[in-house]
Amino acid sequence: MVRDEFFRCEGLCKSYGEGWAALREVSFSLEAGGSLGLLGLSGSGKSTLLRLLAGLEPPTSGQIYLEDRPVDTGMQKGRRAYHRQVQMVFQNPVSTFSPYMTVGTYLMEGIRSFCPSENTREREVALLEEVGLSAEFSRRLPHELSGGQLQRVAIARALSIRPRLLLLDEPTSALDSMVQRGILELIATLSKRHGMAMVFVGHDAAVLRLMTERMLVLEKGQVIETLPSRTAHRMARTAYAQQFFPPRAVT
């Protein structure tokens, strides 16, 4: 099935100060409902790239296109229009919750802003149930939830406005292995159900192979290889990329 390309970035660069480039000339495109993994060691630029894609930081140069239209996140209006389509799940769920805000209020913030007509108790409960939590969670404060439950709420919030692209910044790295599995299954199910495209950042190649269709391998801010996820372990050419697929770990 041929899918339309709806997201593209060309020549994205990010420099902090003079001389140090965190990201150099990164380009890729993504089809509607497609999934892409960003693989690299710490400091390779994958989280910086994700922050640029999320519109949280402007690129030093380069351009992001959404449905062939250049994205301008410098202005409030452009940022708002972009975030209507693109949402993100952060690495550490605890940091994304205000300690004084109940889960219910947090969950409905996006809806309150983007689709106020849906700001109802029924929708709140439906969102919680979609991520496997009961309605009584809505009155709880963040510290009363486990890391896995918080991440489920964060995913529910990101999905609440029905974005077309979901950015995931190592969403399971702060969780234990049993909880990780549940969250990964949830993400896979929901992205399929909502037909959402996904950019998944990680340093665990096994997770990216499971969750994405292809992956970009980043080293020192540059894309050094683009691999189909399923056969990435066989097709990796560089020693840098091969280190993510040790023979025993490949299944």
Binding site: L56, H83, M88, T96, M101, E109, H143, R157, I161
Partner: protein
């Protein structure tokens, strides 16, 4: 905000402390209506007289009703302390938060100004400001305000800085939440507990500072009753009439301790890791 109120209301020790503070402060703020005699009326023949039915706590060196002066003095001390604490919190928080949210060159210059101003000892700076503004309770209060807001500005700035780029503010921005709501629902609820705790703990400090300046003869001027000034007057009669020294000293101590206890309890109750 409502979570705060629920927490505050459900905590029994805090409720008790709050009630005691309101009772103590309210009593003295209403003192002008409760005083049995005119606190300024001099009776030369009753100088340092012992307690009697007409003058329940006796008379001071000029024969003025000591109880009436204690009540009126408390009214002055507490009113000005409340005024000082509210003014410095409002001013300091407003400027500190604004600097943190605006950022850039304005923030840099503002913080360097704070660095310089805070490097001078507070009491020394206050004495300079009193010299500029002149003696008297109002001018002393203004002098204390002009110096004390610096600490609030630095605290608010530091707290806002911690939240400005926090995960939940970034998430809010991505969720299309406007600046006003981010400020009111994300930043303020996290900054205010720090400021409220600072205010209650600072109340004792400011009461002591006001009293110290009065004790040095820079605050309240005769014949205005004020606890610090009465302490200064009383020390000359320690042997003949110890109550003139002990009573205002005890009342200052009592209010300082009461507000510090309230501040400590608030700190525990407003800890975000506590449940509702």
């Amino acid at each position: 905000m409502s979570i705060w109120l629920i927490r505050l209301w459900r905590d029994m020790p805090l409720r008790t402390l709050f009630f005691l503070n309101v009772l103590a402060a309210g009593f003295f703020l209403l003192a002008p209506f409760l005083a049995p005699n005119d606190p300024l009326e001099v009776h030369a023949d009753l100088a340092l007289a012992a307690p009697s039915t007409l003058y329940p706590l006796g008379n001071d060196a000029l024969g003025r009703c000591f109880l009436s002066r204690l009540l009126a003095g408390g009214s002055g001390s507490l009113f000005f302390t409340f005024f000082i604490v509210l003014a410095v919190a409002f001013l300091g928080m407003g400027l500190g938060m604004t600097a943190a949210l605006v950022g850039g060159r304005i923030e840099f210059l503002f913080m360097r100004f704070l660095d310089v101003a805070l490097s001078v000892p507070t009491m020394a700076l206050t004495l300079v400001m009193v010299a500029v503004f002149g003696n008297g309770l109002t001018t002393t209060a203004l002098a204390i305000i002009s110096v004390s807001w610096l600490v609030y500005a630095r605290t608010s700035h530091a707290v806002v800085l911690g939240f400005r780029e926090s995960g939940f503010v970034q998430q809010a921005r991505m969720g299309g939440v406007g600046r006003g709501r981010i400020l009111s629902h994300y930043v303020l609820p996290n900054v205010l507990p720090h400021i409220i705790i600072l205010m209650t703990q600072d109340f004792g400090d400011k009461l002591l500072m006001l009293s110290t300046l009065s004790l040095l003869g820079l605050g309240a001027q005769p014949p205005t009753p004020e606890w610090g000034f009465m302490l200064s007057e009383g020390k000359a009669y320690l042997e003949r009439a110890p109550l003139l020294l002990i009573a205002p000293g005890f009342l200052i101590f009592f209010h300082v301790v009461l507000f510090n206890l309230l501040g400590d309890r608030l700190q525990d109750v407003l800890d975000p890791k506590r449940g509702i």
